[in-house]
């Protein structure tokens, strides 16, 4: 028997529109025949569509944690609304008649089985997959090109700084945009993004005064990564193995996309990890020209907070799955971690989902940091490095919430150490207004996931609350 819930089906869908369309199909009774196999591992149906013949869609649960949704429709969206609709029909309690598994599915199952077999044979025999062959000459050439690119970028920045931001005009912006394009030719996608960010900052501001501080900070970041990048690339050239730097974030800044196999090779993989999502956010990063879905997850065994990041390029956004808040616990056989310090980015390929018990939510609170002094020290150490993630996330224990004369919301730890909360306008969301709707008990002796930010103009380090944990309840203030 297949045990799935509507919310699980929601999570399979690429976006909200797919959910709506799929549910629409069920409502409009577009499914002509609903069948399930005798062993209950396969659902299949015919669905009326705009084509002349019905679509054949199916959901194969032969591996219950990895259902395969198939459909004969030409949609490029995966899974398509027909396959999702089939699952909604199932969760909605529609009648499914028992029927024999269609031949094409049998064939597909056999093929998949063979693939699996081959894979397991390989792992058992050869143990390790063959190490990738790296064309060192080509790589060397690439590194040299990257170094050249950094020189070009530095030259551009120098001329900008020498002439002053006040003299910035359309012509200069145009030169900058041209350089943005060039960076791609030098294999410096990271540099490209940062230069685009700078260009955007300078080009669309009505009130220049306001953005100069941000520009100053951005210039510092870029200066830092040119310096660090050059040093790293030069030493890489001298290294006969041309190895990647797996300890700092510099590779990512330069635009390297880490492969899971690389991460594993450098020992950045953990086995059997259980994660619980504490918060989620999705935003439009115009400098990257991508939508970014970020999840903040707590590791059950260590209390570490990780980040999952999915980039959806504008051009492909329609066809890609938009991530969503996740309310269940996930068990991950192999968790890959990116280099970095706090809240390192993580990725995984396989996961098993199970509902989160309420006592487990309660249990999470034990990881809440109790001394703000220690946390702030740690955060500041991270912020000191301009190439570190500028918005570390920490789960704090909050003894009480107060309000100051300036109407700032302030949290205090047990020893009376204070920390000012503030909504960070940079991400466009506000969570503090919700505080006035919370009851006193929801603001006392709680755990709070916060995101730090240093404001250069005011010189303040503030925290934005994302999620509150009180006893067995998880109150998501953001998403």
């Amino acid at each position: 028997m297949i045990e799935i819930t509507a919310s699980y089906v929601d999570s399979l869908a690429s976006n909200a529109a797919a959910i709506k369309n799929a549910q629409g199909l069920v409502k409009k009774r577009s499914f002509v025949q609903l069948h399930q196999s005798e062993d209950g591992t396969l659902l299949f149906a015919e669905c009326k569509g705009s084509g002349s013949s019905n679509y054949q869609c199916s959901a194969d649960f032969i591996q219950p944690d990895k259902p395969i949704l198939r459909c004969s429709c030409p949609s490029r969206q995966l899974p398509c609304k027909h396959a999702l609709g089939l699952l909604y029909a199932y969760t909605g309690g529609e009648a499914f008649t028992t029927a024999a598994v269609p031949e094409d599915i049998v064939a597909k199952r056999e093929k998949a089985e063979k693939r699996e077999e081959k894979k397991s044979q390989q792992t058992s025999q050869g143990a390790e997959p063959k190490p990738k062959k790296v064309n060192k000459t080509a790589l060397k050439k690439k590194v040299q090109s990257q170094l050249e690119g950094l020189d070009v970028l530095e030259k551009l920045l120098r001329s900008l700084v020498r002439n002053g931001l006040g003299t910035m005009d359309k012509k200069v912006i145009k030169t900058m945009q041209e350089h943005v394009k060039q960076m791609g030719n030098y294999y410096l996608t990271g540099a490209q993004t940062e230069l685009r960010r700078l260009t955007l900052l300078l080009s669309d501001a009505d009130d220049r005064e306001q953005i100069y501080t941000d520009v100053g900070e951005q210039l510092a970041v870029m200066h830092a990564f040119i310096k660090k990048g050059r040093a790293h690339l030069t030493s890489k050239l001298e290294d006969p193995a041309l190895a990647l730097d797996h300890e700092s974030t510099i590779e990512e800044w330069l635009g390297h996309a880490w492969q899971l196999t690389d991460l594993k090779e450098y020992g950045l993989m953990k086995e059997q990890v259980e994660l619980v999502q504490l918060a989620f956010v999705s935003y439009d990063d115009s400098a990257r020209q991508e939508y970014v879905d970020e999840g903040y997850w707590l590791e059950r065994d260590s209390g570490e907070i990780h980040r999952t990041i999915q980039y959806r390029p504008y051009k492909a956004a329609k066809l890609m799955r938009e991530e969503d808040s996740f309310f269940d616990a996930v068990r991950i056989p192999s968790l890959y971690q990116y280099p970095g310090d706090m809240n390192r980015r993580v990725r995984w390929e396989e996961m098993a989902v199970r509902p989160l018990e309420s006592h487990e939510t309660l249990d999470i609170s034990k990881y809440a940091e109790r001394s703000y002094t220690d946390v702030i020290k740690k955060v500041k150490t991270q912020l000191k490095n301009p190439l570190s993630h500028a918005n570390p996330l920490v789960l704090l224990h909050v003894a009480e919430v107060k309000q100051s004369n300036q109407d700032e919301v302030v949290i205090a730890d047990e020893s009376g150490q204070h920390l000012v909360l503030r909504d960070h306008e940079s991400n466009g969301h506000r969570t503090l207004p919700l505080f006035k709707h919370l009851s006193a008990s929801q603001l006392e002796d709680i755990s709070m996931l916060v995101r730090f930010e240093h404001d250069m103009d005011t010189g303040q380090l503030t925290a934005m609350p994302l999620t509150i944990l009180k006893d067995t309840e998880m109150l998501r203030l953001l998403y």
């Binding site: 120098r158 830092a224 310096k227 500041k380 000191k384 505080f435 006193a440 010189g459 380090l461």
Partner: protein, 620 residues
Amino acid sequence: MSTDLLQELHQELRRIYIAGSDLALGDYRLKRMLPQFLQLGERAPIFKRLGEGIAALIEPKDAENYQSAEQLQDLNLLLTSVLRTQGITTPQGELRPLENHPVSLSTFLSYRKLAAVEEALTTTGSNRYEVVAHAFEEGMFRDLRLLELAVRALGDPYSEIAEFAMQKILPSYGAEVVPYLIDSFDPMGGKVESRKLQVIGQAGGEDVLDLIFQAAEAGSEEVRVTAIRLLAAHASFASDLLTWTRDKKKSIREAAYQALAVMNDEAAVERIYEAFAGKDIEIAAEAAAKCSSEQLTAWLVRDLGEELKHLLEYKEDKKKAEASQKKMRHVLTALEGKRSDTLYELYLEVSRQYSLYISSAGLDLVDAAAHYLEHENSLEALEALYALEQHNMRYLSYAFRASFRQLSPSALYEHYVHSIRNKWKMKTNKETQKKLKQFLSILEEQVIAYPYQLYPNLWGSPGESIYLSTVEMMPVEQVAQLWDSRWLDWLIEIQATHLVCVFARPDHTESQSFLTERMRDMTDLRHPSLDILLLGLERAGVDASIRLELLMNVLEQKRGGNLYSFEGPVLENLYQLPLSYQDRLADMIQKYRYTAREQLQYVWNEMERKKHEAVVTDSV
């Protein structure tokens, strides 16, 4: 560590970034700061490094290799790192408990669901109302994070959403949300605040009466109007309502009268009646129309009678007559929908003295009388209506509707057709022809409606529905029950096609041939009769194959310019076309454009599919 000094340096660097680092050489403001850094540098090495950085920027030792931009960037990077370790985290001033209005809402929506509603409520564009209404149906507004947006929706530029928030979303939170609304309520505000007050009044109960009273006394005009209307249900504010009927602003007085009409106690009724003597007669009349007080009705009927008398007297005096007419009209407004014996007598008198009153009082009075009599349901009233009909054709419809309700089917036919059959035939008489035309349209109103109906959009996006115009005829059983069978013959005789469609019977061969002929004459696809004719042929029992063939002919001729889309009845007939028409259909599809073409294409596709299925079943 001296954070102030660091901040100062940060500001100076910002200045140099704006001006350009070429101007940094020898900068006197940085020069002035330099000694402080060097001094602090003796104790804290970081200040020493910063001091060196400043020196390298403004007083380079190696002038030849000096790169002002490089030096500035280095210094800025160092300072940024230092400043980031100096962030202030402590609050300013005294701390006090957090002010809050707790609500019992939780956060349960996932990002994708929440974001869609957030977007609908924070942007402009189409389809937002549907998203919001759907979210409300699904109970999504029970999520804490939507509360603030629901309140904000009161000011949505699309007024339907604002009204929806006021009428549905916010009241669903109950009393819990009231303190929060009160918190942000500004009695001097405009429409948004007035809507807010409406919710407060609805959900707040007795506790908020004082607040509403304050708003009624001292708010902005819009807020006062809402507040006063909210007070109508509370007798304790009766005296205040009376006071407000003497307010300077008309809208306030209007609201007060409306509230009094709802309150309906002695003083209230007296005050409304009193207003008929003054300048507020118009708004008082509208309030009176909503007041159920019998006393008030009696007074107004008495006044109406007097006014009618005056009108007869003032025939010569134009000014007085006009004033009297004006008053009469307002009294008529106030009496709309009210019934009393005296009023009946009065209207009966009006109908008897038609020519007298039409000249003194005008159509308004007679219309009111006819309307009253139509709903009286007595033979006496019916006679009065017939009398009116004789005077003016506009009362034909009143009289017919009353007859239809009161007379038996045969009596109705006798009265309207049989007794004057020959008169109807006088084609030369323009007056009669006009009357006939009007009579037929009255008949059509009784038996035919043209509603819009939802059809599944099978040809475009299946799963969605689309509104198409359709024709609704009185059901066959009702026609048989309520109408004399002789109507059909007469209708064919005068060639009233639409009505023949309704009254047609399978046992009536003449109607079959009449309608078939009509359909054959049909040349224009956009002719208003095409849809109803198809239904009429069906009702007449004409064989479906003949009907579809006739339709096919019309389609193939295709006259009437570019038809955008086929409406309901034609579409339903298209769906019935048998497979044998497939080729003919294929030939003519090219002639059509837009939706009409898609519809035809869909019909053809369906035929193709059925053909396939048939083949499959055969082979099995």
